[in-house]
């Protein structure tokens, strides 16, 4: 079925491409026209052998971007990609070249597109085979199109070449133009080139690179040039904030953060007079005052305005007017922020729109003032401290940010002297409290009741996942989740969740189960137990990274266990007090004998938010494994007085 669907879609697209190309896309008549810099795509056989021996299946022979900012705000950019496919695997994996285009603002000419065979023959790309795909996200509508060029007749040793000429009318763009170029990719790049020039009288272009091996210079007063050869492939790892760790070249029309923030502030707040929204505000706050009113406004925008992005053309950076969003009852992050800021101002609160770079946490990686670093927007208010509000997840409580957003790079558009800063971040992105009551029955079995309380971002993640399930699926998931951690020995298992429907700061998962005895109580003098949930959460913080730094969001698990003995037995000794401390975190435990038949065990595992350097990754994992391995609870009890 899947194959049939793919076939049908491909046929449809091919037909569409052949019969009616979009008006913003054109093909040059001779697509097999060789590159001007044909020499640049040649790679010596020794080099190819070396790359193959390193395990690479293909290599980018050339990636170049040449931009010219012409008179009247017209930007012409020539993008060249030449990819050498060295092996069969390379042909399979990388035989299709792709490009992303914002079609409302850009005209594209495919100047060259061909396959250079190993024997030197050139075969032009067949325009009718181009695939034009829009975002698959059902809630995102935009003019972004992904162009795919499936070259034909490929064999090991072939080189695919694509030259696109993109023309953008900058007059329509409301912000200073900017682009970021990343020389390092999943495959090696033999030649990386960026050229920028601008016409006299146009806004000067700034260019900054943070790649120490990039050679950049300014050949003329109105041009920049950057070159780098033999760029190695990125060392892949599963948990990496790539944008922070990969060097880049930032290009932007010269501006200041202050001017950029002011311009964006105007775009967010200038569309509507807040006083027009006063009746709506009255209706929403319903007589509430102060923070209660603010919370109601937050809940309204978060819950009643569903997430749908209409981001065509300049709407990528310009929010829709609050009235429009209010009427549609949908919007994207900036639409919601613009609406909230307007509602808050109409209610007498100061609320600041704040640009956020969701994948960036290092301020030092922002090389020059540019909006392209940011891809999200939240609002922040002063409530005895800066409280930032995220509107795209109705599972979040007031003042909680998604775990991944805490500490992200941001730009407060309402600040007196705007400059990039980071969003508030708690030391522990994940926060869990576990309370467990254990009754050690006289037959040696255990009755257990535990409550897991997730807070803030963690609670929202669980809430969001559970909300999307049916009641039956939710119950099944809760049981499965319990048994994954606790095993399936328990009987009479009951698991319930509290706090799903209401986005409070916490979410509780309560479970009860009975465990059959291994031995009768009178045959034992020591009781052992795992601190299961602490163990599970702790181990989940390990990383699989081996080469790249890890940004750990932090974890705090506070576990309190009560252990009661049946009958007249009494506890004899308490287990070890734990005080494991390291720069990666700590595990502490204390035992308290409340009376002869009741012991409380308090344990706190803390792994603070941190960046773990590549050379410390294995030590970080070892720390977690060692402390979790020492988290077993042990309590001794006397046989005396045991019921016969």
């Amino acid at each position: 079925m899947r194959w049939l669907l793919v076939f049908l879609l491909a046929s449809f697209s091919a037909a569409a491409g052949a019969e009616a190309l979009p008006e913003w896309l054109r093909f040059a008549p001779n697509l097999a026209q060789p590159l001007e810099a044909a020499k640049a795509v040649e790679i010596s056989e020794e080099r190819v052998e070396a790359l193959e021996s390193e395990g690479h299946a293909f290599v980018e022979a050339l990636r170049s971007s040449s931009m010219n900012f012409g008179v009247g705000g017209r930007l012409v950019e020539r993008v060249t990609v030449a990819r050498r496919l060295m092996t069969k695997e390379g042909v399979h994996a990388a035989g299709t070249l792709r490009a992303s285009i914002r079609s409302d603002l850009t005209r594209v000419l495919v100047e060259s597109a061909y396959v250079l065979a190993p024997d030197g023959r050139r075969t032009a790309f067949r325009p009718e085979t181009i695939q034009i795909v829009q975002s698959p996200d059902p809630d995102v509508f935009s003019d972004v199109h992904d162009l795919a060029f499936p070259f034909s007749g490929l064999a090991p040793g072939s080189t695919v070449v694509l030259v696109l000429v993109k023309t953008v009318e900058l007059e329509e763009w409301p912000l200073p133009w900017s682009q970021l170029h990343y020389p390092q990719r999943g495959a090696p790049v033999e030649q990386f080139r960026v050229d920028v020039s601008w016409a006299a009288g146009e806004t000067p272009i700034a260019l900054v690179a943070n790649d120490p091996q990039m050679e950049c210079r300014q050949p003329t007063p109105r041009s920049h040039q950057c070159r780098r050869s033999l760029v190695p492939a990125l060392a892949s790892d599963p948990e990496v904030d790539w944008l922070d760790v990969v060097p880049h070249v930032a290009i932007a029309q010269e501006t200041r953060w202050k001017d950029l923030a002011r311009r964006e502030w105007e775009l967010v707040t200038g569309a509507q007079d807040p006083s027009e929204l006063v009746p709506t505000v009255r209706q929403i706050v319903d007589g509430a005052r102060g923070e209660r009113a603010l919370r109601r406004l937050y809940r309204f925008v978060s819950d009643e305005i569903r997430y749908v992005a209409f981001a065509h053309g300049t709407s990528a950076v310009v929010p829709h007017p609050p009235g429009v969003t209010l009427e549609r009852r949908f919007g994207d992050c900036k639409d919601k922020v613009a609406l909230f800021v307007a509602l808050a101002r109409a209610a007498g609160f100061e609320a600041a729109p704040v640009l956020v770079a969701t994948n960036r946490y290092e301020l030092g990686e922002l090389l020059l003032p540019s909006w392209t670093y940011f891809n999200h927007m939240v609002a922040c208010v002063e409530r005895g401290g800066r409280v930032c509000l995220e509107f795209t997840d109705p599972s979040l409580s007031f003042g909680s940010l998604p775990i991944g957003l805490e500490g992200a790079v941001s730009l407060d558009l309402a600040a007196e002297a705007p400059s990039p800063t980071t969003l508030p971040a708690r030391a522990h992105g994940w926060s869990l409290e576990v309370k467990t009551e254990n009754i050690l029955r006289c037959d040696g079995g255990v009755d257990e009741k535990s409550t897991r309380r997730f807070a803030r971002g963690g609670a929202a993640l669980y809430r969001s996942a559970l909300r999307s399930m049916s009641r039956e699926a939710r119950d099944a998931w809760l049981r499965e989740n319990y048994q994954d951690v606790m095993g399936d020995r328990g009987s009479d298992l009951r698991v319930a969740v509290e706090g799903v429907s209401t986005p409070t700061k916490t979410l509780d998962i309560v479970s009860q189960a009975s465990y059959a005895p291994f031995h009768p109580l009178e045959q034992q003098t020591e009781f052992y137990d795992y601190d299961f949930w602490l163990r599970d959460m702790g181990l989940s913080m390990r990383t699989q990274n081996q080469r790249q730094p890890l940004r750990s969001v932090g974890l705090r698990v506070a576990s309190t266990g009560e252990f009661r003995l049946c009958g007249t037995r009494s506890f004899s000794f308490l287990g070890p007090e734990l005080d494991f401390e390291s720069r990666f975190g700590s595990l502490r435990r204390q035992y308290e004998r409340v009376h002869s038949g009741l012991v409380k065990v308090r344990t706190v595992l803390e792994i603070p938010r941190q960046v773990v350097r590549p050379e410390d990754l294995s030590r970080y994992n070892r720390f977690i494994e060692q402390v979790v391995g020492q988290s077993n609870v042990v309590i001794g009890y006397d046989a005396a007085g045991a019921p016969q």
Partner: protein, 342 residues
């Protein structure tokens, strides 16, 4: 016919004959000090000049076995000899001398920094009595205007020495052999690094005088290191064990059960943290302070979980008040040797 070749002695009492002090000393050693009451009885007989004073003949020998009374006897004998020596115009010792020497010897043994051993008691105890006998010999020599006759039981005495000395030495070895071995080991200076046989770790001597002794002295024959305090009664025994079932929890539990089998756990407390200067290697320190019938003692057990092995050092002291601190210092000074850490 009986031929008289020398003048008769002034007294028929055999104690008026000399007893060479070397032989007296050996007799004391060979009889484990039991020669002393015999000597006292004979001396009492001689001093009584034929009078049969039951108190002197029976109580004095018994009294010689008890330190304060023995000091009185030594004083009495020395005073008696001093008078006689003065009468002969010879200088004499202060009669307090032997008594004070006796007290000093005992004090030395009680408070000496080295271990209190049976051996020094055995060797030093006869000295004050030998000294008094030396005075007696001088007195007899002056009375006879020569060295004086040697006692007539020479063969019996030498036979006693010949038989008793090896027996007494064997007994001493049997009682105190381990301690003698301890004495044979060199004493360490404070801070000296001590290494076990496996070379996995070092510990620091917490005070001057701690010694490494051979395996099996206090622990099992397969122990990795055995260390004893200067007092000889506090020690630490290290083991290195490995095996699929050996974990920190299991080892601590096994040791706890073993100590619990000897007596109650008493005041038991365990704490765990990372071994300093290690790569997140967990260690446990368990303290057991026990008290029974007014007698206190303590165990301190350090257990370290390496990836491939466990190190356990069991410390014991019968004097927790003074010795537990240094013992714990010793245990907590454990550091892994280079290459032992994962």
């Amino acid at each position: 016919m009986r031929v008289v070749t020398s003048p008769p002695t002034s007294s028929s009492d055999p104690f008026e004959e000399r007893l060479p002090i070397g032989r007296f000393y050996l007799l004391c050693l060979a009889t484990l000090g039991l020669w002393v009451p015999i000597w006292v009885r004979r001396r009492a007989q001689a001093d009584g000049e034929g009078r049969e004073d039951p108190a002197r003949l029976w109580l004095w020998p018994i009294a010689s076995l008890f330190t304060p009374l023995a000091m009185v006897l030594l004083f009495e004998f020395a005073r008696s000899d001093r008078e006689a020596l003065r009468q002969h115009g010879s200088s004499a010792i202060n009669p307090w001398g032997p008594a004070l020497l006796h007290g000093a010897v005992l004090l030395l043994l009680l408070f000496a920094p080295e271990p209190t051993l049976w051996l020094p008691v055995w060797l030093l105890f006869p000295l004050p009595f030998v000294w008094v006998q030396h005075q007696r010999n001088r007195r007899i020599a002056l009375a006879g205007e020569g060295d004086g006759p040697v006692g007539g039981r020479t063969r019996l005495q030498w036979a006693t020495v010949a038989c008793g000395l090896p027996l007494a030495a064997a007994l001493a070895w049997w009682i105190d052999g381990d301690t003698l071995m301890v004495m044979a080991s060199p004493a360490e200076r404070v801070g000296a690094l001590l290494t076990g046989a496996a070379g996995l770790y070092t510990v620091e001597a917490p005070r001057d005088g701690w010694r490494v002794v051979k395996s099996g002295t206090f622990g099992d024959d397969d122990s990795d290191i055995e260390i004893v305090a200067p007092s000889g009664d506090s020690w630490a025994v290290g083991y290195v064990v490995s095996g699929p079932d050996e974990t920190l929890d299991s080892r601590v539990s096994v040791r706890r059960s073993a100590i619990r089998a000897e007596a109650t756990l008493g005041n038991y407390k365990e704490s765990r943290h990372f071994l300093p200067e290690s790569d997140f290697i967990p260690m446990s320190l368990a303290l057991y302070e026990q008290e029974a019938l007014g007698v206190r003692r303590a165990y301190a057990v350090l257990t370290v979980e390496l990836d491939e092995a466990l190190i356990e050092i069991v410390g014991f002291t019968p004097a927790p008040g003074e010795q537990l601190g240094p013992l714990v210092e010793l245990l907590e000074s454990l550091r892994l040797s280079e290459g032992a850490a994962p």
